[in-house]
Structures are given as C-alpha cells and as structure tokens.
C-alpha cells in the first residue's frame, strides 16, 4: 500500500487569537508507527483532533487514508482514536462498552475484543470506572482495535501509566500493527519511550512541524561532529542544526550522510533520536522535512560559549 495515512497541507488551527498549529504540511506513509513529539502546547493534540474531525481547520486541510476528508463518514469508518485520558463511559460495564462500540460502528470484531480482554485479565462485568488506569487504557485500545481500523491515532496514551502498563499497552498496539497492518500515529511529550516503538518521527514545536521523516533516514542523515571549538566556525556553510560548545571543545549536530568525509581532527558520532529531537527543539529555525534541505547557517563565531560543557 503506497497511500499516505495522513496528509495535511498548510493546515492551521486558531483558537481566539492564538494559532495552535500553523502551516502544517505532512504526508505520513502507511505501514508505519509514527510518533508525534513535541513539548506541551506544541500542537500535538490539535493536530490529532483535526485529523479525526473533532476540530475544524482554520486554514488548510487534512485528509486521512488516502484522501478521505477528516471527519467524514468514510474517514471515521477507517480510523480509530483514543484521546488523552482514554475517555470511557465510567458507569458502563466493560461488556456494555463493547456493546456500545459495536452498535456505533460498521465493523466490530467481538471475538477479538473478548479474547484480548481475557488475555489482559479485564473482567467483562466490571464497571469501566472501577478498572485501574492501565486497564482503562487497555480497554480503550482494545475497543479501538476491534473496529479493525486502518489507522489508529493515540493522544498521549501512556502518559499516566506505570512502566508495566505502558509496556503492555505498547505490546498490544504493536502486535496489532504486525498482525493487521494497522498504521499508527501516536503523540507523546516523552521521547525516550517512543524510540523503540516508532519508525516515523514528526516533531512539532510551537505549532509548526520541525522534523518529519523516517527514523532510519533521519538518524542516517545526521551525525555529531566533535572537535576543537576554535574550528567550529569553519562549518558555517554546512547545514548545522545545533552547536554545543565549551571553551576548547564543540559538538556540532550536522546534517551529513555516513559517507561524507569527516574533517581531520574531528570525530563523528552517530546520533540518537532523543539527542536529535532535543537539538531541533532548541533551534526553532531548523527544520528537517522531506524535500529540499532547509538547514540553517548558525552564527558560530560569536566567541562565546553557547552551552558550556566542561
């Protein structure tokens, strides 16, 4: 399948006078687990709400599953959404929640849902409000997956969960990705737990997309060069993303392929996802988007340590 599960062009959303999301252009391919990352207030929830039709764009448009307008019946049929704090009807029993979800959708795999819940040890006759936080999240995820969506969207699904619950949640989600080819888009403001899980990254900062691309490509196209601080200015023409320098030593995070030569006297190190994300977040002007490279030449020769590391 070569379609894009989420496509946005110039998407923007304004609340009152503030733009929560601006000029967002994305094309997330199918078959991936995409992570939507950014600090609180960056616009992740807004983007997800727009993609599932819970909010109307103030500018631009967003479509899902190869061109279906967000919020349209065709879109709602093919996607499933688990919002922040996993909303459920707390007064209804687990079995009732299954019943409600079955009635509200064209497709619902009741045997699958019951099997998953049995595996997870979630009793059918307990009220949803009496389940633990982890169980509620698992229930919400099971309900979503039982709809057999092509795209699953999750808004900070594990923020309130303990490590075990978090692991179990991700395992359930990922096995669905394996078994049924579900594409996933999930948001988080904690990157570390997403590194193992995601193979596509979207970095949002202050309402704009800074980074979008496959994780492997991003990591392969960046590296850290460590060398003498005095020579750091030499690389002003390169697409340098971020500089950390002390008095004698500087680390430059640059965009470079693995076979670009390393300058003599410098050492090259591969970059981890978290380091990459932090670097971009600290440089609002830098972007790494599919398409023409838009790195930024940074004023390196100010002579002052920008981040002193001793």
């Amino acid at each position: 399948m070569n379609m894009n599960v989420v496509e946005a062009s110039g998407l923007g959303k304004r609340y009152g006078g503030t733009w929560a999301l601006r000029e967002c252009t994305l094309a997330i391919p199918a078959g991936h687990v995409a992570a939507l990352v950014g600090p609180n207030g960056a616009g992740k929830t807004t983007l997800l709400n727009l993609a599932v039709g819970l909010a109307e764009p103030s500018a631009g448009a967003v479509t899902v599953l190869g061109g279906r307008p967000a919020g349209s019946p065709a879109a709602l049929d093919g996607i499933a959404f688990v919002a922040q704090d996993t909303p459920l009807y707390k007064n209804l029993s687990v079995a009732d929640m299954l019943h409600v979800t079955r009635n509200l959708n064209r497709r619902f795999d009741q045997p699958y849902a019951q099997a998953r819940l049995a595996e997870l040890g979630i009793p059918l006759n307990r009220r949803a409000g009496k389940l633990s936080g982890g169980q509620q999240a698992q229930l919400a995820l099971t309900l979503a997956l039982a709809r057999r969506p092509r795209l699953l969207l999750l808004d900070e699904p594990v923020a309130m969960l303990d490590p075990v619950a978090r692991h179990d949640f991700m395992a359930l989600m990922l096995t669905a990705a394996v078994d049924d080819g579900v594409s996933v888009l999930l948001s988080s403001h904690v990157l570390t737990e997403l590194e193992r899980v995601a193979d596509y990254l979207i970095l949002l900062s202050r309402g704009r997309v800074q980074v979008a691309g496959e994780v492997d490509d991003l990591l392969a196209s960046h590296r850290v060069l460590t060398g003498p601080a005095a020579e750091a200015g030499r690389y002003a023409e390169r697409p340098v993303v971020h500089v950390r320098r002390g008095e004698t030593q500087a680390h430059l995070l640059v965009r470079a392929d693995a076979d670009d030569p390393v300058p003599p006297g410098w050492e090259a190190y591969p970059v981890g996802l978290e380091e990459l994300a932090l670097a971009y977040l600290r440089e609002p002007g830098a972007v790494a988007l599919p398409g023409p490279v838009r790195g930024q030449a940074l004023p390196l020769d100010t002579g002052e340590p920008s981040e002193v590391t001793r």
């Binding site: 199918a30 996607i79 959404f81 919002a83 704090d85 909303p87 509200l104 193979d199």
Partner: protein, 348 residues
C-alpha cells in the same frame, strides 16, 4: 525501508451505507436509563397521589353537588368537606408547574453537557456513527419519550382537576384558561416538557457543564413560562369585550376597566372619590373601590360609568391549547435543530 504492511481485510468500500439509525436505540437507552427512570418515578409517584386524591375529591364533589336541598345544613357540611380539597388542588397545581422544567432539565441538559464535561465526546464522535447523527438519534427519542410521559400525566391531571372547575357550588372556581392550570392540561403540558428538554439540550451543548447547563435551563424555562403565562397567552386571539361585570361562564377574565361617559378610562382613585361623595356607605378603602360588588357596580352604572371586561371565552380553551402547543413544538424543533447544527459545526 521495507514497511510492514499486511493488507487489511478486503476493503469495504468508501461508498458506505451509514450505520443504521436503530443501533443507537440501545445506546441511548443504556446511557440515559437512569434519567428516564427518574422521570418515571417522579411522574409515577405524582400520578399515584393524584389518583388517590382525585378519587376522594370526585366523591366529595359528587356528594356535595347531588345534595338536596342545597341550602340545608347537611349539604352545607358536604360542600365544606369538598372545599377542603380545593385548596390542596390549587397548591398542587402550583407545584406541578415545576415538573416540565425539572424533567426537561434533568433529561435534556446532560445529554450533551456530560459528554463534553467528561470528555467522552472524543470517543463518541469518532465512532463510525457520525456525530450529528448520534446527536439526533439521541435527542429525538428522548424528546418523544418525555413529551409522551408528560402527555399521559396531563390526562390524569385533567381528570383530577375536573371537580374544581365546577361552577355549581359557591366557591371561586378556576377556569380552564387560568394561567395556573392551563399549562398542565391538554397538549400544553407535553409541549412545555418538550420545550424544556430542547432548551436543556441546547444549553448543554453551549455551556458544556452539566450543573451550569441545568441551572441555565431552569432559568430560561422559567422566564419563558412567565412570559407566556403573563403576556403571550392573553393575546393568542383578540380578546372579547363585554359591557358589564359578568362575562359568560368559564370565561377567563383578563382585565376590567371603568370608562366615564365620554369614553375615557377612569382610575380607581377617581371612582373612589365619586363614591365618597355620593354614597359613602359603599366606598371602600382609600384609593380603591370594592371589586365585584353588585351594589357598587349598579350605583356607578346609574351615574354614567361603564365597566368593560376583557376576557377570553372558555370555548377558546382548545384553540389556545393548539396555538400554545404549536409554537412550543416549533420552538423545540428549532432548538433541537440548532443543537444538532452546533454539534456538526463545532466541537473540540
């Protein structure tokens, strides 16, 4: 990069038939069964009370009305016994004014307000059913349910109140068009319940908090009910005028006005002065004259003053019921449509 894509099951096409409406029936029932049960309990308790009390009142009335001779002491006692039911009935009528508001608020406001307040709309409106259809599929059956319950209840109330409209016994009976009972009978009670529900639904969508929406619903309903009872209802059809103090039986007197010979309206204080000067024994207190006093009225008539009574005849009861029911129904439909429109347009 090889992507892991196992094609999902054969795609059911995008030219989809929407999820059938009837599927929401169970969902609506399951989510609102406590509210509906509350309504049933409230109306049920009141109905039981009305039934029992009504039986006694009917018996008492029948005994008093059929008692001959009417002026004897024994009959007087029976009349007196019946009259003890009158004040209760009038109190009950006042209490029941609140019932449509309560039903409408407690059933209507939470439908949307609770979803918004608890955030479950993020679940409900991303299901395949679609959000405006979900809203409509909830509001319409609930509206019909509360209206039907109200309608059934008002039939019972009408039966209960029958003796108290009687004009055969000498008490100041009410007439069906009176504000205190008009909206509890006929189609008005059902229509007011429906309107309260519709106000509640819209308030819930606008306010998005259950308790606040409840309060707002009650407030708006009260304002509307007062406006209707005090101003609107009098003018559904042009009132009739009669040139004396005795409008026909069952007429609903709206106002009375004395006019002088030349055709100008005369105030009560002016009339009082006339009495003071001409027939001080008839005059009442300062600033006013005794109302409904035949002797006073005769005296003033002899001196060239005319009393015009504005009233609505009792025969207009049902036309007024249809008018009131009609505009309340139209209003309810409008409010529910507005609610659905808002759901469709706005959300998070």
């Amino acid at each position: 990069m090889t992507t892991l894509t196992v094609p999902a099951r054969p795609e059911q096409d995008a030219s989809l038939r929407p999820v059938p409406w009837r599927r929401m029936a169970w969902v609506t029932w399951r989510q609102h069964r406590f509210a509906l049960a509350g309504v049933a309990a409230l109306l049920g308790a009141l109905a039981v009370w009305l039934w029992l009390e009504g039986l006694h009142a009917h018996h008492a009335y029948a005994a008093a009305a059929n008692c001959h001779p009417a002026s004897s002491g024994a009959c007087g006692t029976l009349v007196g016994y019946f009259l003890t039911y009158v004040s209760t009935a009038q109190t009950i009528a006042i209490v029941l004014q609140a019932v449509p508001a309560l039903i409408g608020a407690f059933v209507g406001a939470p439908v949307l307000a609770r979803e918004m307040e608890t955030g479950t709309f993020r679940y409900a409106w991303t299901q395949g059913f679609g959000r405006w259809r979900w809203t409509l599929a909830k509001l319409v059956p609930l509206a019909i349910a509360v209206a039907a319950a109200g309608g059934a209840f008002s039939v019972l109330f009408s039966w209960y109140y029958q003796p108290f409209f009687a004009q055969t016994l000498s008490f100041n009976a009410q007439v069906p068009l009176d504000a205190g009972v008009f909206d509890l009978r006929g189609v008005a009670f059902a229509a007011w319940t429906l309107a309260a529900f519709a106000i509640g639904a819209l308030a819930g969508m606008l306010i998005r908090r259950v308790v606040t929406a409840l309060a707002a619903t009650l407030a708006v309903y009260t304002g509307l009910a007062l406006a209707a009872g005090l101003y609107l209802r009098e003018h559904y059809l042009t009132p009739l005028l009669v040139k004396n103090a005795n409008p026909p039986r069952f007429a609903w007197v709206i106002s009375q006005q004395w006019y002088a010979k030349g055709g100008q309206p005369v105030s009560q204080s002016a009339l009082s002065q006339v009495l003071q000067q001409g027939a001080p024994q008839l005059a009442g207190g300062k600033g006013g004259i005794p109302q409904d006093d035949p002797t006073v009225n005769q005296y003033l008539a002899q001196h060239g003053y005319t009393l015009w009574t504005t009233y609505q005849p009792g025969s207009r009861f049902w036309p007024f019921q249809w008018i009131e029911g009609g505009w309340l129904l139209a209003l309810s439909v409008l409010l529910i449509a507005a609610t659905v429109w808002l759901v469709r347009r706005r959300a998070a």
